[in-house]
Structure formats: structure tokens, C-alpha cells
């Protein structure tokens, strides 16, 4: 289940950052992806909220250090 969500999160991130989804993994983080700046991070959060019909609280957003952590967070919100 988490793997499916991770691949969906990677797909959303790929759209937001305008890069190839195959280049993204759970370990992908802002330090590795040039396009992942503060503005794009917010765009990613909003895109995920829109896709899953969820809303992240500030205390949840602080855990979004990489795509794996984001996928885990999404999974806990939708199950």
C-alpha cells in the first residue's frame, strides 16, 4: 500500500517539479532536486491535498523531509 502511495506521490512531485517520475524515489529530498525550493514545496503540499482531499497541519508539514516521509504521512491521513 505504501509503495503504491509512494509511486503516486512521486508522480505528483514529478508534475510539480517538471521532472521525470522515474528519477524520484522515497529518498528524494530538496537537497537532491534542484527545482524543489520553498515555493515548489508549497505547490507539492497543495497538489497532494487536492489529490487526496486532505489537509496537512503545520506539525505534519514539518515531517515532510523527503518523498518517503511525505508518502508515509499521506498514508496515515487517508487510512
Amino acid at each position: 500500500m505504501n509503495g503504491d502511495i509512494l509511486s503516486e506521490v512521486c508522480g505528483v512531485a514529478a508534475d510539480v517539479f517538471a521532472i521525470d517520475a522515474l528519477s524520484l524515489t522515497g529518498a528524494s529530498s530538496p537537497e537532491q532536486i534542484e527545482a524543489w525550493d520553498s515555493v515548489q514545496h508549497l505547490s507539492l503540499v497543495l497538489a497532494l491535498e487536492d489529490k487526496y482531499g486532505i489537509q496537512f497541519a503545520p506539525e505534519e508539514m514539518e515531517r515532510m523531509k523527503d518523498l518517503g516521509a511525505i508518502a508515509t504521512l499521506v498514508r496515515t491521513k487517508i487510512t
Binding site: D37, S38, H41, A57
Partner: protein, 351 residues
């Protein structure tokens, strides 16, 4: 370590200074720093918040809740001021900017940001991405001493004015030195009597009560608020009163300024009257600044009546990078005729 957002307190001053030091070392522009002494550096009522990771500051922002009148209904709206994140120098903290914004919206859904230096800056881009509405507060200018103005603008390093004037000269068919004549031709306002006043008194309260319902959105401008915004202790603020309203002005002698060289620049910072009386106040403000000897008069005004008053008094419009951003909740209120100027937000700190 998790990041927590906490209110600023005095014992955090040293870690704020360390944060600012890291921005200094990375060569980040001077304006982007967290206040190490918010109570001394900001308008009354402001509250700063810090994003802390294991005791280390990773960012912060300030909220200044203000009372606004929405056609007579008084509501609290907060100014979202100077959010700064370590993400601008270290991508490990790219999440902090979004965290700060979400935290601020949770505290005060009706938020606005003002100024910000233009659409390409990081904050406006982030606010736009978050669904905020952005629009420039129109900019107007009137040249009082054309020869001196042109001499100084030529010497100034910034090219914005030169480009603007070339456009203007081309569009009006006049040379730069024809500006004065054009401005006089464009001036259609009647003379207005005014007096300089040292302080806002009961008369300012009475005016506020009469006029605030005429505006879709306007920051509280009763006497008490005006005394906080423009304290008598600050000699920079000049106040004039007319039969119909008031204006707050600043007269600044620039020295080697990037945009203004050594010009003496007058600014119509703030003003209030019924919308139909705006022209009388603008004319009085302009005449007062001319009498003081300024070379150039500037103003940013958002309300249609005040913009029209400036145009009718011979002011030209120019490109504005002074932006108003309104949060989704504030935008939903559907305001169109807001009265926002340099007196809002931080106040006239950069003039």
C-alpha cells in the same frame, strides 16, 4: 529533529542573531533578516514567531493584527510580515516557508502582505502558489523641479526611472523638460486650503466616523491608531489637515540613493477623506510639499477615487512593485475598492 513554531521571547534573541548571521555569511540581501528585538523594531501589536529545530532558529515571521473597516463592519485582519526561512540558503529547510505560511493562516485566516518588491520575489511567488490574490498598488509621481530631477536621475545608478521617463517622453510627444508644462496642463483640481498640524486629535476621530463606511476595506485610522502609526516623537512625519480630510507626508533628502541620487523626495504616505473629497486633499498635500522645496512627489494609492485625484492633479502613473497580497479567506470577502497605501503594512519604513 521536529520543527516547532513558538512565539518570540527575549531569551531567543541570541539564536535569532545566529540565524541572521548565517544569512549574512551567505550574502542574503539585508532586508531579509528576523528582528532580534521585535518590540523595538516593529509597530505596536506585532507578534513574531520562530521556527525552532532543537533550539536552532530555521525561520520566522511576524503577524500584526489590525482592525479594518469593511464598509463599516470592523474585523481583524493581520499583516503577514517578513517571513524568512533558512530554505533560502539551505535546501534542507525548503519546507520551512510553507510551514510558516500554514501556521500564520491557522492563527489568522484573514491575512495580507504588502510591498514585497515585485512578482518575481520568493514571497509573492509562494503566496501566489498558495492561492493568494496579488495586485500592485498603483504608483504615481509628479516632478516639481524637472531640471534637477533629470540631472539626478541621470546620475543615479538605477535605470527604472530613466526607462520610465523615456516612455513618457515618447508617449506624450514632449521632451523630458516638457514634463513641467504637461503636468500643469493635466492639473484640473481647485485650490485647497490646509494647515500643518502637530498631532491627530478629536477631529480625526470625527472624520473617521464619517468616512470609513465609504470604503470597501480600510485600515483603522482613528486618532489613537494614527498616533501609533505616525508618532509625534518621529519628526519625519508631517501632517496636514484640510476642511475635508488629512494627509501624512514625508520629505526626505536623499544622499546618493540608487534610484533618486541626491533628490529631495516628498511622499504622500497616507490620506483620508470621503472619496469625493480626495482631490482637495491631494492638491493640498502636493502644494504643501512643493512649498517645502521637494524635487519630486510620490504616492502609492489603491482606491479609485484617490488614483483619480492624483491624475487630476497632474501626477503620472508608473510601474509599481508595491504589491498587495490577500489570503484566500480575505479574497472571498469580495472587496474591490480597498484604500491601501504606504501607511499600511510596515508603515512608511522604506521611504
Amino acid at each position: 529533529m521536529p520543527i516547532e513554531i513558538v512565539p518570540f521571547s527575549a531569551e531567543l534573541r541570541s539564536v535569532v542573531r545566529e540565524f541572521n548571521g548565517r544569512l549574512d555569511a551567505a550574502g542574503v540581501e539585508e532586508g531579509l533578516r528576523l528582528p532580534a528585538d521585535p518590540h523595538a523594531e516593529m509597530l505596536p501589536g506585532s507578534q513574531s514567531y520562530l521556527a525552532l529545530e532543537d533550539g536552532v532558529v530555521r525561520g520566522g515571521y511576524t503577524l500584526r493584527p489590525q482592525k479594518f473597516s469593511f464598509r463599516g463592519e470592523i474585523r481583524c485582519v493581520a499583516h503577514y510580515r517578513l517571513p524568512v526561512s533558512e530554505g533560502i540558503i539551505d535546501k534542507r529547510f525548503a519546507l520551512v516557508g510553507a510551514l510558516l505560511l500554514r501556521d500564520a493562516l491557522q492563527k489568522e485566516p484573514l491575512l495580507y502582505a504588502l510591498g514585497m518588491g515585485g512578482y518575481q520575489q520568493p514571497l509573492p511567488r509562494m503566496l501566489q502558489a498558495a492561492g493568494w490574490s496579488l495586485s500592485p498598488i498603483p504608483f504615481y509621481f509628479r516632478v516639481v523641479h524637472p531640471a534637477r530631477f533629470l540631472r539626478q536621475i541621470r546620475a543615479a545608478r538605477g535605470s527604472r526611472w530613466r526607462l520610465l521617463l523615456m516612455d513618457l517622453a515618447a508617449s506624450t510627444g514632449a521632451g523630458w523638460l516638457g514634463l513641467h508644462a504637461i503636468q500643469r496642463l493635466r492639473t484640473h483640481t481647485a485650490a485647497a486650503a490646509f494647515s500643518e498640524v502637530a498631532e491627530f486629535g478629536l477631529w480625526a476621530d470625527e472624520l473617521w466616523e464619517v468616512v470609513h463606511r465609504a470604503y470597501g476595506m480600510i485600515g483603522m485610522r482613528n486618532a489613537e491608531e494614527l498616533r501609533q502609526l505616525y508618532p509625534q516623537s518621529n519628526p519625519r512625519f508631517l501632517r496636514i489637515q484640510t476642511a475635508a480630510g488629512w494627509a501624512v507626508l514625508v520629505d526626505t533628502a536623499m544622499r546618493g540613493d540608487q534610484y533618486f541620487g541626491d533628490l529631495r523626495v516628498g511622499t504622500i504616505v497616507d490620506c483620508l477623506a470621503r472619496p469625493e473629497d480626495a482631490a482637495a486633499v491631494i492638491r493640498a498635500a502636493r502644494v504643501y510639499l512643493e512649498q517645502r522645496g521637494v524635487d519630486l512627489i510620490l504616492s502609492n494609492q489603491s482606491h479609485p477615487a484617490w488614483m483619480e485625484a492624483l491624475r487630476a492633479d497632474g501626477f503620472f502613473g508608473g510601474p509599481s512593485n508595491f504589491l498587495l497580497a490577500t489570503s484566500p479567506a480575505l479574497r472571498k470577502l469580495g472587496v474591490v475598492d480597498w484604500h491601501i497605501n504606504r501607511g499600511d503594512g510596515d508603515g512608511p519604513v522604506h521611504l
